[in-house]
Amino acid sequence: MPYSPLLVKPMREELTSAGVEELRTAEDVERWMEARKGLSMLVINSVCGCAAGAARPGVRMALEDDEAPESVATVFAGQDVEATAEARSRFSDIPPSSPSIALFRDQELVYFVPRHRIETKDAEGVAVDLRQAFERFRAEPAAS
């Protein structure tokens, strides 16, 4: 059952205030998925403790990197249910978890950070992981 909008508002704003586009509907996700080019990142936000302690602040830190993706968006698991389902349908062979982070290059999913690789890290650890992925997938030629 979704939490009170009042409760999750600051959790949403922690990302949107860093320039992350919030996708609230399945149509929003579809539009974003089709429009993005180059490196892009989708953050699946959640109310859990590791989202507060590691994922959201880690994403904010990583976005300060020069290699950060041009397009970054978020859906909120358990809150914006249809948007989250639409996002997960783009990588349906990966077990759902939240928080989690997907990195795309053009239309291809190139890197995924599931919840279990967030919950044992602090924010800096998440940021380091993401920065390394940004650098790697900027440098690595795209599959033809």
């Binding site: 403790g49 077990p95 044992t120 890290k121």
Partner: protein, 90 residues
């Protein structure tokens, strides 16, 4: 990081790999470690039985992407557990 329910122990809320003395290993979100055993939520089990991915392949994929939580809640009896460690540490 885990969650904020500290009375349930350090592994509460953490996705763990539970190895046993037998052919099964379990991956799931640890709820609690009690005298009874390890209580896992949204867990999956891998059996080394010659079918499907072997143990190393299973753990490699689990480490990169996680597992499908096929079992809502299960208890791995304490006397069967040989080790327990966070999946994120693999």
């Amino acid at each position: 990081m885990g969650t904020f329910h500290r009375d349930k122990g350090d592994l509460h809320g953490i996705t763990v790999v539970v190895e046993t003395e037998g052919p099964e290993l379990y991956v799931g979100r640890c709820d609690e470690v009690t005298d009874e055993g390890v209580i896992l939520l949204d867990a999956d089990v891998h059996r080394e039985d010659g079918e499907g991915p072997d143990r190393e392949e299973y753990l490699d994929r689990a480490s990169r992407f996680g597992v499908w939580g096929k079992i809502r809640r299960l208890v791995v009896a304490r006397d069967r557990v040989s080790s327990i460690r966070p999946l994120g540490d693999l």
